[in-house]
């Protein structure tokens, strides 16, 4: 852990330290241990209540979105159902120089194959710049980077990834959705909340949703949280995203529990002030509160449709 350069600059903790930071589970350290089975992992079991489903999006689906993906699925209370995507045209990772990035295709390249390739190319360099530790983390979160624009919303995500079915993938993990962290709850292939990590990604996501023509008639809250694309900021951003997700989830759960408490007096025309506070309308307030605690991560939000 102490060797992980991504965590080198983590002392002192970044500004506004959220209360009671969870100790980092040693995910990165368990690099060569067998793939944890998310569904069999007791931590992964929901604590019984209702949870929102989340989706994290960055450019290459490697650093920021994957850190957040890990955070959202690594809570002691149980993993949030989580997907993650990238909006770029290709997966770009730093190479030996600025002009020589390592470029991979979305959807059909696994984190493991990237990891193995870079390990054989220049282990020292890619360990020093944190790329290998990052890929080690990623390959324990899910099979490979996925592109937002290629995501068929609403198509069930169970079993082998359909676009890889029947392909020989020697020496690789099975590209099974069920092995992804936070898979449980995302089987239907939809989410309630999308977090993008850069305004450009938010633009891409919103634009893509507008272009799709919203055939599912399903609302989705799309947030942007501006995170710089480096390992340190990704760690900070992942923490901030988890905090926002917790706040949103708590509000959603509260709204759901109200019906039972007020025995059916909320709904269309209920006069009860508290009862009228549903989840969706609280979102801007929650975001504003969160923004006050994280002023360095400018946020943006819209209610879009799948």
């Amino acid at each position: 852990m102490s060797l992980d350069p991504r965590r080198r600059h983590l002392q002192p903790p970044p500004p506004p330290p959220p209360p009671a930071a969870q100790p980092e589970p040693a995910v990165v350290a368990t690099t060569d241990s067998p793939q944890p089975q998310p569904n069999g992992d007791p931590k992964d079991q929901q604590d019984g209540g209702y949870t929102l489903t989340f989706c994290t999006v960055c450019a290459s689906n490697n650093n920021r979105s994957m850190e957040a993906h890990l955070r959202l699925t690594n809570r002691p209370e149980g993993a949030y159902p989580t997907l993650s995507f990238g909006t770029g045209s290709l997966v770009r990772l730093p190479g030996p120089s600025i002009t020589q990035p390592n470029v991979y295709h979305f959807n059909n390249t696994s984190y493991r194959s990237m990891h193995d390739e870079l390990l054989s190319k220049d282990q020292r360099l890619y360990r020093a710049n944190g790329i290998l530790p990052m890929l080690e983390r990623n390959k324990n979160v899910k099979w490979g980077p996925e592109r937002w624009q290629d995501w068929q919303v609403g198509v069930p995500r169970t079993g082998i990834r359909p676009y890889l079915a029947g392909q020989e993938l020697p020496g690789q993990q099975t590209p099974d959705y069920n092995l992804d962290r936070g898979h449980k709850g995302t089987e239907a292939g939809v989410v309630d909340v999308v977090f993008t990590c850069e305004e450009r990604c938010w633009d891409a996501v919103v634009d893509d949703l507008l272009s799709r023509g919203s055939p599912l008639n399903r609302p989705v809250h799309v947030f942007n949280i501006d995170i710089k694309d480096n390992h340190e900021e990704a760690l900070v951003g992942g923490k901030a995203i988890l905090e926002l997700a917790d706040a949103l989830n708590a509000a959603a759960r509260e709204a759901r529990d109200q019906y039972a408490q007020t025995s059916g007096t909320n709904g269309f025309d209920a006069g009860h002030a508290l009862a009228r506070e549903g989840f969706d309308e609280r979102v801007p307030v929650i975001l504003a509160d969160w923004q006050e605690r994280w002023p360095s991560l400018p946020a943006l939000w819209t209610l879009a449709w799948f």
Binding site: I98, G154, V190
Partner: protein, 720 residues
């Protein structure tokens, strides 16, 4: 049946099965319906409503299957939505939300079913009941439900407005729209439906026209309007116009709370995304310019509102196209601060995004015919007539404003590019510098490092030049010579001006060293260059090798051109430069004598080819110009050159053919006879020949012969 939790567990396993195999939906859905009905526990109703919404939204279920299943679920949906009427109990928000979502997905299916089954009045009225229920509760519902109602209404509008018919023979492949309805359909008369849709659209747009500040409702509305703009050309313009007139910043107050900031920013950015998307999908849209203008305007306003000095600057300028100013809204006084004149002044369309031409930068008019007009077409005299009244009529303020607009545009352009990133589909979002915390050199630094390394590697070597051709060499020789003789000319002029100083210079000890100030130095250099190059001093044998011969030939080329130049130099002013001629010829003689001495060819004058050639040539050139007063020149020349032969004396004898110059000729010969004993006999011979051949020179020759060869004269006298 067990507890709700147990039932839900069973339902979940059923759901798992259908998610894996969509073909089973038609069996599972009817089986589930009784379990999730109105009498079921709220958790089951929630599950059921969500499952139905999911089922009818699923892209993997075929449309025909959905359509047949839809008939069966209408009743359940109606129960959910009308629970209050029937059970006296308000339905749970989550159930209602899911139900409305499901209704939105089902509506087009029921619509198509009704088109195909014109006798099925019942189904349509069930759907219509659900629709009217949703419409009735929409405005008063909790926002979470209201947004779903808005989406439902948008879907209804989409269905009940004519769409594009892609394939008239296969209606099942076409998008469900009013275009599929026959004009005389008994259940769904198209005219009524279109009128209803128009009213519903107005209701949707009302959210924007009223400038609601509820970001949830506003963004949900904007995002649900997009399909209408894309797919319903008959209403697209209306929707776009409303969005263009919508000012998400209108509710900006000073000071803004944290929530205000988030809300205003989010609404503005969503509006921008909507406009960008509309523009991108149809770049040739008639109001494309207006769209661009609005996007830029929003972008700028957003920056202004959120910059720290918000309120100090003028209101964001809005694009004007002159069509519907009545609907135009003003930015709140708080933002405008009532200070600027810009509220009354005509505003100008901002520049289109992306690269602009200089013409675009300066074009303020939106009148395309005016911008397309080329002023140079006007004749100059008409322009001259036009300009004075035009200048008079220009309002100074207007002109200043226009200048300021162009200036602002220019400033914007110079710091632009970053804001335009969203317009251009630029997904080259690779930023490796941020991922290399230790290696964050800027490219400039790296280049410098590389450069300094290159420099330290070693001395830089120029590549060797191409070998010179003979022609090139001759060219260069000529050029060099010209330059040297130019210097000589200049030096001669200097000497002429300074007069006697020349003598002093000549007396200097180092007069044979070449310096730019010394004519003699240059002469010595030139003469030796001409005469000495052919002699390979101390290296006789190489003379015989071919390479040396070739070298010799080259040297001769240079030497002869120097000789030629020297001769010309002397002849330009032979009276002054006779010393040069003597020096040169002396060098010639010395060089050739040296060669023959080294070659041990002791024959005395035999090999002085160059010397004789050039002496005779010079004399030939000289003699025509000698006049009666030049005796001293001729005497000096003949006495100082190192050797004289018959050829030389023959030239001298010729001079006497001119009666006027007999005198200088005889004087020269007499001088040679008196003071140059080695050639005395030769000279006397020449005089004797003259005495015989030349009557004009007889008198002068007699005087010499009397003293030096009296026998000739006496013999003639005795004969006489």
């Amino acid at each position: 049946m067990g507890s709700p939790a147990q039932v839900i567990e069973q339902l979940n396993s059923a759901r798992e099965i259908v998610l894996k195999d969509a073909a089973i939906y038609p069996q599972v859905v009817p089986g589930v319906l009784p379990v999730i009905g109105e009498s079921a526990h709220v958790e089951l109703r929630r599950w059921g409503a969500a499952f139905l919404a999911e089922t009818f939204a699923s892209p993997v279920v075929r449309a025909e299957e959905k359509q047949s299943m839809a008939l069966g679920v209408l009743d359940t949906l109606r129960q959910y939505l009308m629970r209050e009427d029937k059970m006296g109990e308000i339905e749970d928000t989550a159930v209602v939300k899911s139900s409305v979502q499901c209704a939105a997905s089902i509506y087009p299916l029921i619509f198509r079913h009704t088109i195909a089954n014109s006798g099925d009045q019942e189904t349509w009225s069930a759907m219509a009941a659900i629709k009217s229920r949703i419409l009735r509760v929409m405005d008063g519902a909790v926002p979470g439900v209201r947004i779903c109602c808005i989406k439902f209404v948008a879907r209804v509008v989409q269905v009940q407005t004519p769409g594009l018919i892609a394939n008239s023979h296969r209606p099942e492949q076409n998008e469900i729209s009013l275009s599929l309805v026959p004009r005389d359909h008994p259940v769904v008369p198209p005219n009524n439906l279109e009128a209803e849709a128009s009213g519903l659209l107005d209701r949707l747009l009302g959210v924007l026209q009223d400038n609601l500040s509820d970001a949830l409702i506003v963004t949900a509305t904007l995002n649900s309007l997009a399909p209408l703009v894309q797919r319903r050309p008959t209403i697209a313009q209306k929707v776009l116009g409303t969005v263009l007139n919508f000012n998400p910043l209108a509710s900006a107050k000073v000071p803004m709370t944290g929530k205000d900031k988030v809300v205003i920013r989010s609404m503005t950015r969503t509006t921008m995304s909507f406009l960008v998307n509309a523009l991108k999908r149809n770049p040739n849209h008639p109001s494309a310019l207006r769209l661009q203008g609005a996007i830029e305007g929003l972008r700028r306003s957003l920056i202004e509102v959120f910059s720290d000095n918000a309120g100090k600057r003028s209101a964001p300028d809005e694009p004007v196209d002159g069509s519907d100013d009545a609907k135009r809204r003003r930015i709140d006084e708080e933002i405008a601060n009532g200070t600027s004149r810009s509220a009354t002044q005509p505003s100008y369309a901002p520049l289109p995004p992306g690269p602009v031409t200089v013409a675009q930068l300066f074009t303020l008019s939106q009148d395309t015919s005016a911008t397309a007009f080329h002023v140079e077409l006007l004749p100059a005299n008409i322009v001259a007539q036009l300009i004075p009244p035009l200048i008079k009529s220009i309002d100074t303020n207007q002109l200043n404003d226009a200048i300021n607009v162009v200036r602002q545009r220019y400033l914007d352009l110079s710091k632009q590019s970053a804001p335009n990133a969203t317009l251009v589909e630029d997904d080259d979002d690779y930023d490796p510098s941020s991922a290399f915390p230790g290696l964050d050199n800027t490219p400039g630094e790296i280049q410098q490092q590389e450069l300094s390394q290159e420099i330290t590697i070693g001395p830089f070597r120029l590549p060797a030049p191409l070998p010179l051709t003979t022609k090139d060499r001759d060219e260069h020789n000529k050029m060099a010579l010209t330059r040297v003789f130019d210097i000589l000319t200049i030096l001669d002029q200097d000497v002429a001006m300074k007069g006697m100083k020349k003598v002093e210079a000549e007396k200097r000890f180092d007069r044979r060293t070449v310096s730019t100030q010394s004519r003699d130095g240059w002469i010595i250099l030139l003469t030796r260059l001409a005469t000495r190059t052919p002699c390979n001093l101390g290296d006789d044998d190489s003379m015989k090798t071919e390479g040396a011969l070739a070298k010799k030939a080259q040297s001769f080329g240079l030497a002869n051109s120097i000789r030629m130049a020297l001769m010309n130099y002397v002849m330009e002013d032979f009276r002054r430069r006779i010393d040069v001629a003597i020096a040169w010829l002396s060098e010639e003689w010395y060089a050739e004598t040296l060669i023959s001495h080294l070659a041990k060819k002791a024959s005395k004058n035999g090999t002085l080819t160059n010397y004789w050639t050039w002496t005779v040539r010079l004399l030939d050139a000289l003699t025509p110009y000698l006049d009666t007063k030049d005796g001293r020149i001729l005497i000096r020349f003949l006495s100082e050159i190192p050797a004289i032969n018959v050829d030389v004396l023959a030239r001298v004898k010729k001079i006497a053919l001119d009666p006027e110059r007999v005198n200088i000729c005889s004087q020269s010969l007499l001088y040679l006879i008196m003071f140059r004993p080695p050639v005395r006999e030769l000279c006397v011979d020449v005089v004797e020949q003259m005495w015989h051949e030349n009557a004009e020179a007889k008198a002068a020759a007699t005087r010499i012969l009397v003293k030096w060869r009296p026998a000739v004269v006496e013999k003639v006298q005795t004969q006489a």
